[in-house]
Symmetry: C2
DNA sequence: GTCTATAAACAGATAGAC
DNA sequence: GTCTATCTGTTTATAGAC
C-alpha cells in the first residue's frame, strides 16, 4: 500500500489543502448564516454546524466571529456586476435596447436567485458605518465592480458618435451602480412593483438624458 | 394650594399623558440605539437607560424588544421626502435646474445630518425580508413618501407642456426614490464621491431622458 | 407606573483530550 | 486539526417591593 502519491482524481489532501478547504467551507457557511441572521444575530456555533464542523474547528481557523465577517467583506458578495459586465462586453450587443433588456433581466435574476447577496451587502454596509475602521475594506470591495462598469460605459459612450466630458463615465457608473443595488433591494419588498422593464426604462432614461444634456459640441 | 387644574404651561400630567410620554421617550431612544447597534445588537437595557428609565418601565409599556422595533417600523424613519416634497410644492421653483439643485442639497443634508435615518431604514429592510410577516408594515411606511413624490412628479410633467403616459409618474417616482435612498447610503461610505451635484445630475439625466423618450405625440 | 433583584437561557471564547 | 467540555459574561423577561 504505497500508492500514497499518485492518485490524480481524489488523492488525499495535504494538511495545508485540508486546512484551506475547511476555511473555505466555514466562510461559505458564514456567508449564508450572516445573510440569514445578520452579524449580531448569527452565532459561531450555527456557522460551524452549517459548515459541518464544530466550534473548536472554527476557532482553530479564525480568531473569531469578527474575523470571519471581515474576510467575507473583503472577498465581496459574489460580484454579479463584474460578471455581467464582462458578458455584455463580449457580446457586443447589436442594439442598445437589447443591452438594456439584458441588464434588466440580470437585475431580476440577481434579486430572485441570489437571495443572500443583497442582505449580506446590507450587513456589510451597516457594519462599515458602525465600525469606520472597516470602511476602506468595503469601499475597496465595491470599487472593482464599479470600475468595470465605468469602462463598459466609457466604451459605449465612445461608440456612440458624440463626444462627452472625460469624467462623465465615472459619474454615470456611480449612478447606475447605486440604482442597480437599490432596485434589487426594492424588488425584494415588492416584486411586482420592480419588474425587469423598470430597470430597462431607468437605463433608457438615463442614457437618453445623458446624450441629450451632456454631449459636447463636435470639434472639427 | 388648589391650583391643581389651571396651569396652562406645565400642569401636572395625567396618568395617561405621563404614560404616553414615557412611551414616546422609549421609542425615541429605541430609534437611536437600533440605528447605532442594530436590532440584534441592541439590548433593551441600553434602550431603557438611554431613555432615562429602567428595564421594568420598558416592559410595562411594551411587550419586549420586538414590539418596540415594529412600532418604529410602522412609524417610519422621519419622512424627509414628504417633508421636502411639500416644501418644493409650495415654492413653485422658477427653473427646473433650481429645483434639482435644491433636491441635491436636501440629499446631502439628509445624509450628513440625520445620521440615524439610513441605518434604521436598512435595519427595517433586513428585518422585513427575514420576517416576511412584517413586510407589509414596511411597505406601507414607504408607500406614503413615494406617493407624495409621485404627485409632485405628475404635476411637474403636466406643467411641462408635453403629454405623457398616465403611469409614467409612478414608475419615475419609484426610480427616483430608490436612487435617493441609494445615494444617501453611498455618500456615507464616500462623501466626496457623492456630492450634491451628482444627485442633481442624475435627476437632470432622468428627466431629460423621460422628456426625450416618453413624450406622446401631441393630440389636436 | 416605575424600580430592584433575579431567574433562565444563551452567547463567544478557551483548554485539553484525541 | 478537530472535538468535547466548560468558563464567563450578557441577554430577555419576570416577580415583587415601593
Amino acid at each position: 500500500m504505497e500508492n500514497d502519491d499518485l492518485q490524480p482524481r481524489k488523492r488525499r489532501l495535504t494538511r495545508a489543502e485540508a486546512r484551506a478547504r475547511t476555511r473555505e467551507l466555514l466562510l461559505d457557511a458564514a456567508a449564508r448564516i450572516f445573510a440569514r441572521k445578520g452579524f449580531a444575530g448569527a452565532s459561531v456555533e450555527e456557522i460551524a454546524e452549517d459548515a459541518g464542523f464544530t466550534i473548536g474547528a472554527l476557532y482553530s481557523n479564525f480568531s473569531g466571529k469578527q474575523q470571519l465577517f471581515l474576510e467575507l467583506m473583503a472577498r465581496g458578495a459574489q460580484d454579479r456586476i463584474t460578471e455581467a459586465a464582462t458578458v455584455l462586453e463580449q457580446q457586443e450587443h447589436a442594439t442598445p435596447e437589447e443591452a438594456r433588456k439584458a441588464l434588466g433581466q440580470l437585475m431580476v435574476e440577481v434579486a430572485d436567485k441570489d437571495l443572500n447577496m443583497a442582505p449580506l451587502q446590507a450587513e456589510f454596509w451597516l457594519y462599515a458605518i458602525r465600525n469606520p475602521e472597516t470602511m476602506e475594506t468595503l469601499s475597496r470591495q465595491l470599487q472593482g465592480p464599479r470600475e468595470t462598469l465605468e469602462r463598459l460605459i466609457a466604451g459605449q459612450l465612445e461608440r456612440e458618435g458624440s463626444r462627452y466630458p472625460r469624467e462623465l463615465a465615472g459619474r454615470l457608473a456611480r449612478v447606475m451602480f447605486v440604482l442597480f443595488q437599490g432596485m434589487v433591494r426594492e424588488r425584494r419588498l415588492d416584486p411586482d412593483g420592480v419588474p425587469a422593464e423598470l430597470y430597462a426604462d431607468a437605463l433608457r432614461w438615463l442614457l437618453t438624458g445623458v446624450a441629450a444634456s451632456e454631449a459636447l459640441p463636435a470639434d472639427p
